[in-house]
Protein backbone atom coordinates (compact mmCIF):
# COMPACT_ATOMS: atom_id res chain seq x y z
CA UNK A 1 0.00 0.00 0.00
CA UNK A 2 0.93 3.63 -0.28
CA UNK A 3 0.63 5.00 3.25
CA UNK A 4 0.73 8.68 2.27
CA UNK A 5 1.58 9.39 5.93
CA UNK A 6 4.68 11.47 6.44
CA UNK A 7 6.26 12.59 9.71
CA UNK A 8 8.16 15.81 9.22
CA UNK A 9 10.52 17.60 11.60
CA UNK A 10 12.72 20.66 11.42
CA UNK A 11 16.40 19.88 11.81
CA UNK A 12 19.76 21.55 11.71
CA UNK A 13 22.62 19.73 10.14
CA UNK A 14 24.40 18.90 6.92
CA UNK A 15 24.43 15.93 4.61
CA UNK A 16 26.20 14.75 1.52
CA UNK A 17 23.93 14.78 -1.52
CA UNK A 18 24.73 14.26 -5.18
CA UNK A 19 26.26 17.70 -5.61
CA UNK A 20 28.30 17.45 -2.40
CA UNK A 21 27.73 18.66 1.12
CA UNK A 22 24.58 20.67 1.70
CA UNK A 23 22.84 22.27 4.66
CA UNK A 24 19.68 20.48 5.76
CA UNK A 25 16.56 22.02 7.26
CA UNK A 26 13.98 19.21 7.46
CA UNK A 27 13.70 15.46 7.80
CA UNK A 28 10.75 13.34 6.72
CA UNK A 29 10.14 9.81 7.93
CA UNK A 30 7.58 7.50 6.36
CA UNK A 31 6.84 3.82 5.92
CA UNK A 32 6.10 3.17 2.28
CA UNK A 33 7.43 1.58 -0.88
CA UNK A 34 11.19 1.92 -1.29
CA UNK A 35 12.76 3.06 -4.52
CA UNK A 36 15.77 0.76 -4.33
CA UNK A 37 15.59 -1.62 -1.36
CA UNK A 38 14.17 -4.98 -2.35
CA UNK A 39 11.29 -5.07 0.10
CA UNK A 40 7.66 -4.19 -0.46
CA UNK A 41 7.84 -1.55 2.25
CA UNK A 42 10.63 0.17 4.14
CA UNK A 43 11.22 2.92 6.65
CA UNK A 44 12.28 5.85 4.51
CA UNK A 45 14.12 8.85 5.85
CA UNK A 46 14.76 11.92 3.73
CA UNK A 47 17.03 14.68 4.94
CA UNK A 48 16.15 17.67 2.83
CA UNK A 49 16.37 21.38 2.30
CA UNK A 50 13.30 22.42 0.27
CA UNK A 51 14.81 25.85 -0.34
CA UNK A 52 17.54 24.23 -2.44
CA UNK A 53 15.13 22.19 -4.56
CA UNK A 54 14.13 18.53 -4.87
CA UNK A 55 17.67 17.28 -5.46
CA UNK A 56 18.86 18.63 -2.11
CA UNK A 57 18.05 15.31 -0.47
CA UNK A 58 19.93 12.62 1.39
CA UNK A 59 17.77 9.52 1.42
CA UNK A 60 17.89 6.15 3.13
CA UNK A 61 15.53 3.16 3.00
CA UNK A 62 15.74 0.81 5.99
CA UNK A 63 14.05 -2.28 7.37
CA UNK A 64 12.02 -1.72 10.53
CA UNK A 65 14.67 -3.52 12.54
CA UNK A 66 17.43 -1.40 11.09
CA UNK A 67 15.52 1.83 11.65
CA UNK A 68 14.82 1.01 15.29
CA UNK A 69 18.42 -0.08 15.85
CA UNK A 70 19.55 3.18 14.29
CA UNK A 71 17.29 5.17 16.60
CA UNK A 72 18.71 3.29 19.61
CA UNK A 73 22.28 3.79 18.39
CA UNK A 74 21.67 7.52 17.98
CA UNK A 75 20.35 7.77 21.55
CA UNK A 76 23.23 5.65 22.88
CA UNK A 77 25.82 7.72 21.07
CA UNK A 78 24.41 10.98 22.38
CA UNK A 79 24.07 9.59 25.92
CA UNK A 80 27.67 8.46 25.96
CA UNK A 81 29.01 11.87 24.92
CA UNK A 82 29.22 14.87 27.24
CA UNK A 83 25.74 16.41 27.60
CA UNK A 84 25.00 19.04 24.97
CA UNK A 85 28.23 18.43 23.06
CA UNK A 86 26.45 18.27 19.71
CA UNK A 87 23.49 20.47 20.59
CA UNK A 88 22.34 22.96 18.00
CA UNK A 89 24.52 26.02 17.94
CA UNK A 90 23.46 28.34 20.71
CA UNK A 91 21.00 25.82 22.15
CA UNK A 92 23.13 24.64 25.04
CA UNK A 93 26.13 25.77 26.96
CA UNK A 94 29.25 23.87 26.03
CA UNK A 95 31.34 22.49 28.82
Amino acid sequence: MCTYQTHKIKISGSGKARKGWISLSEATVYVDHPVHMQQDHSVNIDFIDPAQGPSARVAVELSEEAALALADAIRDAIASAPPGLAAAAGAAARS
Binding site: M1, C2, T3, Y4, Q5, T6, K8, E26, T28, Y30, D32, H33, V35, Q38, Q39, D40, D46, I48, P50, G53, P54, S55, R57, A59
Partner: protein
Amino acid sequence: MTDALRAETVTIKGHDNDEIEAYLARPLDGGPRGGVVVIHHMPGYDESTKEMVRKFAAHGYAALCPNLYSREAPGADPDDAAATVRAAGGVPDERLVGDVDGAARHLNSLQGANGKIGVIGHCSGGRQTFLAACSLQIDAAVDCYGAFVVNEPPSGMPASMKPILGLASQLSCPLLGLFGAEDGFPAPEETAKLSAELDRLGKEHEFHTYDGAGHAFFAVDRPAYRPEAAVDGWGKIFDFFGHTLSA
Protein backbone atom coordinates in the same frame (compact mmCIF):
# COMPACT_ATOMS: atom_id res chain seq x y z
CA MET B 1 1.82 -1.85 -41.01
CA THR B 2 4.98 -1.33 -38.96
CA ASP B 3 5.97 -2.14 -35.42
CA ALA B 4 8.15 0.94 -35.13
CA LEU B 5 7.35 3.38 -32.38
CA ARG B 6 8.55 6.71 -31.09
CA ALA B 7 8.87 7.56 -27.41
CA GLU B 8 9.84 10.96 -26.07
CA THR B 9 9.34 13.64 -23.44
CA VAL B 10 6.87 16.32 -24.49
CA THR B 11 5.22 19.35 -22.94
CA ILE B 12 1.45 19.38 -22.57
CA LYS B 13 -1.13 21.71 -21.04
CA GLY B 14 -2.40 20.31 -17.76
CA HIS B 15 -4.68 21.63 -15.05
CA ASP B 16 -5.21 25.40 -15.28
CA ASN B 17 -3.36 25.29 -18.61
CA ASP B 18 -0.08 24.82 -16.74
CA GLU B 19 2.68 23.51 -18.98
CA ILE B 20 3.78 20.14 -17.62
CA GLU B 21 6.18 17.46 -18.72
CA ALA B 22 4.79 14.18 -20.07
CA TYR B 23 6.14 11.00 -21.62
CA LEU B 24 4.58 10.08 -24.96
CA ALA B 25 4.94 6.85 -26.92
CA ARG B 26 3.11 6.05 -30.14
CA PRO B 27 3.33 3.77 -33.12
CA LEU B 28 4.71 5.23 -36.32
CA ASP B 29 1.97 3.81 -38.51
CA GLY B 30 -0.90 6.08 -39.43
CA GLY B 31 -3.67 4.84 -37.14
CA PRO B 32 -6.50 5.14 -36.42
CA ARG B 33 -5.75 4.37 -32.80
CA GLY B 34 -7.05 4.96 -29.31
CA GLY B 35 -5.17 6.87 -26.66
CA VAL B 36 -4.16 5.71 -23.18
CA VAL B 37 -3.38 8.05 -20.29
CA VAL B 38 -1.03 6.32 -17.85
CA ILE B 39 -1.18 7.75 -14.32
CA HIS B 40 2.12 7.11 -12.59
CA HIS B 41 2.22 5.65 -9.10
CA MET B 42 3.19 7.60 -6.01
CA PRO B 43 6.94 6.86 -6.39
CA GLY B 44 6.75 9.00 -9.46
CA TYR B 45 7.25 9.37 -13.13
CA ASP B 46 9.85 6.65 -13.18
CA GLU B 47 11.53 4.18 -15.47
CA SER B 48 9.06 1.36 -14.85
CA THR B 49 6.09 3.62 -15.62
CA LYS B 50 7.73 4.77 -18.84
CA GLU B 51 8.18 1.11 -19.78
CA MET B 52 4.43 0.69 -19.44
CA VAL B 53 3.86 3.69 -21.69
CA ARG B 54 6.04 2.12 -24.38
CA LYS B 55 4.25 -1.21 -23.95
CA PHE B 56 0.95 0.42 -24.84
CA ALA B 57 2.54 1.94 -27.93
CA ALA B 58 3.93 -1.46 -28.91
CA HIS B 59 0.35 -2.72 -28.76
CA GLY B 60 -0.90 -0.02 -31.09
CA TYR B 61 -2.00 2.80 -28.79
CA ALA B 62 -0.75 6.32 -28.35
CA ALA B 63 0.10 6.48 -24.66
CA LEU B 64 0.92 9.48 -22.51
CA CYS B 65 2.02 9.74 -18.90
CA PRO B 66 1.82 13.25 -17.44
CA ASN B 67 4.45 13.99 -14.81
CA LEU B 68 2.16 14.84 -11.91
CA TYR B 69 5.13 16.30 -10.05
CA SER B 70 6.20 18.69 -12.84
CA ARG B 71 5.21 21.79 -10.95
CA GLU B 72 6.99 21.08 -7.67
CA ALA B 73 10.03 19.36 -9.08
CA PRO B 74 10.72 20.17 -12.73
CA GLY B 75 13.65 18.20 -14.07
CA ALA B 76 14.28 16.38 -10.79
CA ASP B 77 14.97 12.67 -10.50
CA PRO B 78 11.68 10.80 -10.06
CA ASP B 79 12.52 9.71 -6.50
CA ASP B 80 13.51 13.23 -5.46
CA ALA B 81 10.36 14.60 -7.06
CA ALA B 82 8.19 12.04 -5.28
CA ALA B 83 9.80 12.86 -1.93
CA THR B 84 9.22 16.57 -2.50
CA VAL B 85 5.56 16.18 -3.38
CA ARG B 86 5.02 13.75 -0.55
CA ALA B 87 6.50 16.20 1.96
CA ALA B 88 4.19 18.87 0.55
CA GLY B 89 1.07 16.74 1.08
CA GLY B 90 0.60 15.00 -2.26
CA VAL B 91 -1.23 15.80 -5.49
CA PRO B 92 -4.61 17.52 -5.04
CA ASP B 93 -7.49 15.61 -6.63
CA GLU B 94 -8.67 18.60 -8.65
CA ARG B 95 -5.25 19.09 -10.19
CA LEU B 96 -4.98 15.39 -11.02
CA VAL B 97 -8.24 15.53 -12.93
CA GLY B 98 -7.06 18.60 -14.83
CA ASP B 99 -3.79 16.95 -15.75
CA VAL B 100 -5.50 13.77 -16.98
CA ASP B 101 -7.91 15.91 -18.98
CA GLY B 102 -4.97 17.75 -20.52
CA ALA B 103 -3.29 14.46 -21.37
CA ALA B 104 -6.47 13.16 -22.99
CA ARG B 105 -6.83 16.33 -25.04
CA HIS B 106 -3.21 16.06 -26.15
CA LEU B 107 -3.71 12.45 -27.23
CA ASN B 108 -6.82 13.35 -29.18
CA SER B 109 -4.92 16.11 -30.98
CA LEU B 110 -2.36 13.68 -32.38
CA GLN B 111 -2.48 12.47 -35.94
CA GLY B 112 -4.25 9.12 -36.16
CA ALA B 113 -6.26 9.58 -32.94
CA ASN B 114 -9.66 7.89 -33.11
CA GLY B 115 -11.07 10.00 -30.29
CA LYS B 116 -11.22 7.17 -27.75
CA ILE B 117 -9.41 7.56 -24.43
CA GLY B 118 -8.56 4.99 -21.80
CA VAL B 119 -7.00 5.74 -18.43
CA ILE B 120 -4.94 3.34 -16.32
CA GLY B 121 -3.17 3.70 -13.00
CA HIS B 122 -1.54 1.58 -10.34
CA CYS B 123 -1.55 1.99 -6.56
CA SER B 124 -2.30 5.69 -5.86
CA GLY B 125 -2.87 5.92 -9.62
CA GLY B 126 -5.63 3.32 -9.30
CA ARG B 127 -7.64 5.60 -7.05
CA GLN B 128 -6.81 8.53 -9.31
CA THR B 129 -8.00 6.53 -12.33
CA PHE B 130 -11.38 6.02 -10.69
CA LEU B 131 -11.45 9.72 -9.80
CA ALA B 132 -10.69 10.70 -13.40
CA ALA B 133 -13.24 8.26 -14.80
CA CYS B 134 -15.91 9.79 -12.54
CA SER B 135 -14.88 13.35 -13.37
CA LEU B 136 -14.22 13.26 -17.12
CA GLN B 137 -15.91 11.78 -20.18
CA ILE B 138 -13.62 8.94 -21.16
CA ASP B 139 -14.10 5.55 -22.78
CA ALA B 140 -12.35 3.02 -20.53
CA ALA B 141 -10.63 2.91 -17.15
CA VAL B 142 -8.34 0.37 -15.51
CA ASP B 143 -7.88 0.54 -11.74
CA CYS B 144 -4.93 -1.57 -10.62
CA TYR B 145 -5.12 -1.99 -6.83
CA GLY B 146 -6.16 1.55 -6.00
CA ALA B 147 -6.95 1.94 -2.30
CA PHE B 148 -9.15 4.42 -0.44
CA VAL B 149 -11.81 4.55 -3.13
CA VAL B 150 -14.26 3.07 -0.63
CA ASN B 151 -12.63 2.97 2.80
CA GLU B 152 -11.45 5.86 4.93
CA PRO B 153 -7.67 5.95 5.07
CA PRO B 154 -5.95 5.57 8.45
CA SER B 155 -5.72 8.76 10.50
CA GLY B 156 -2.82 11.01 9.68
CA MET B 157 -3.26 10.88 5.92
CA PRO B 158 -3.30 14.16 4.03
CA ALA B 159 -6.73 15.79 4.07
CA SER B 160 -6.88 15.51 0.28
CA MET B 161 -6.88 11.71 0.52
CA LYS B 162 -10.51 10.85 1.00
CA PRO B 163 -12.82 8.09 -0.22
CA ILE B 164 -14.53 8.80 -3.53
CA LEU B 165 -17.20 6.12 -3.66
CA GLY B 166 -19.78 8.91 -3.70
CA LEU B 167 -18.64 9.78 -7.22
CA ALA B 168 -19.52 6.32 -8.56
CA SER B 169 -22.80 7.46 -10.08
CA GLN B 170 -20.77 9.72 -12.39
CA LEU B 171 -18.54 6.90 -13.71
CA SER B 172 -18.42 7.68 -17.41
CA CYS B 173 -17.07 4.42 -18.82
CA PRO B 174 -16.53 0.69 -18.31
CA LEU B 175 -14.12 -0.05 -15.46
CA LEU B 176 -11.66 -2.94 -15.30
CA GLY B 177 -10.36 -3.61 -11.79
CA LEU B 178 -7.31 -5.79 -11.14
CA PHE B 179 -6.57 -6.59 -7.52
CA GLY B 180 -4.55 -8.95 -5.33
CA ALA B 181 -6.29 -11.27 -2.89
CA GLU B 182 -3.48 -10.71 -0.39
CA ASP B 183 -3.59 -6.92 -0.61
CA GLY B 184 -4.64 -5.05 2.54
CA PHE B 185 -5.12 -1.69 0.77
CA PRO B 186 -7.41 -2.29 -1.04
CA ALA B 187 -8.44 -5.50 0.67
CA PRO B 188 -10.87 -7.76 -1.18
CA GLU B 189 -13.66 -6.52 1.10
CA GLU B 190 -13.11 -2.96 -0.13
CA THR B 191 -13.15 -3.90 -3.81
CA ALA B 192 -16.24 -6.06 -3.21
CA LYS B 193 -18.02 -3.01 -1.81
CA LEU B 194 -17.03 -1.00 -4.87
CA SER B 195 -18.28 -3.77 -7.15
CA ALA B 196 -21.59 -3.96 -5.27
CA GLU B 197 -22.09 -0.21 -5.57
CA LEU B 198 -21.36 -0.28 -9.29
CA ASP B 199 -23.82 -3.18 -9.66
CA ARG B 200 -26.43 -1.14 -7.82
CA LEU B 201 -25.84 1.83 -10.11
CA GLY B 202 -25.82 -0.30 -13.26
CA LYS B 203 -22.24 0.72 -14.08
CA GLU B 204 -20.36 -1.66 -16.36
CA HIS B 205 -17.33 -3.14 -14.62
CA GLU B 206 -15.18 -6.25 -14.59
CA PHE B 207 -13.12 -7.04 -11.48
CA HIS B 208 -10.50 -9.74 -11.08
CA THR B 209 -8.81 -10.59 -7.78
CA TYR B 210 -5.73 -12.77 -8.08
CA ASP B 211 -4.90 -15.41 -5.50
CA GLY B 212 -1.27 -15.42 -4.43
CA ALA B 213 -0.85 -11.75 -5.32
CA GLY B 214 -0.71 -8.70 -3.09
CA HIS B 215 -0.24 -5.02 -3.72
CA ALA B 216 1.88 -3.96 -6.70
CA PHE B 217 1.93 -7.36 -8.39
CA PHE B 218 2.50 -5.69 -11.78
CA ALA B 219 5.75 -4.06 -10.57
CA VAL B 220 8.50 -6.00 -12.32
CA ASP B 221 11.25 -4.25 -10.32
CA ARG B 222 9.82 -5.03 -6.89
CA PRO B 223 9.56 -8.19 -4.80
CA ALA B 224 5.77 -7.86 -4.98
CA TYR B 225 5.91 -8.88 -8.65
CA ARG B 226 3.75 -11.93 -9.36
CA PRO B 227 4.32 -13.04 -12.93
CA GLU B 228 1.21 -15.22 -13.25
CA ALA B 229 -1.12 -12.46 -12.10
CA ALA B 230 0.73 -9.78 -14.05
CA VAL B 231 0.81 -11.69 -17.32
CA ASP B 232 -2.87 -12.56 -17.04
CA GLY B 233 -3.64 -8.98 -16.01
CA TRP B 234 -1.87 -7.51 -19.03
CA GLY B 235 -3.89 -9.85 -21.23
CA LYS B 236 -7.10 -8.59 -19.65
CA ILE B 237 -5.99 -4.96 -20.06
CA PHE B 238 -5.37 -5.39 -23.77
CA ASP B 239 -8.62 -7.32 -24.28
CA PHE B 240 -10.47 -4.56 -22.44
CA PHE B 241 -8.88 -1.69 -24.35
CA GLY B 242 -9.28 -3.74 -27.55
CA HIS B 243 -13.05 -3.48 -27.36
CA THR B 244 -13.45 -0.18 -25.53
CA LEU B 245 -10.97 1.94 -27.48
CA SER B 246 -11.62 0.75 -31.02
CA ALA B 247 -13.31 3.31 -33.23
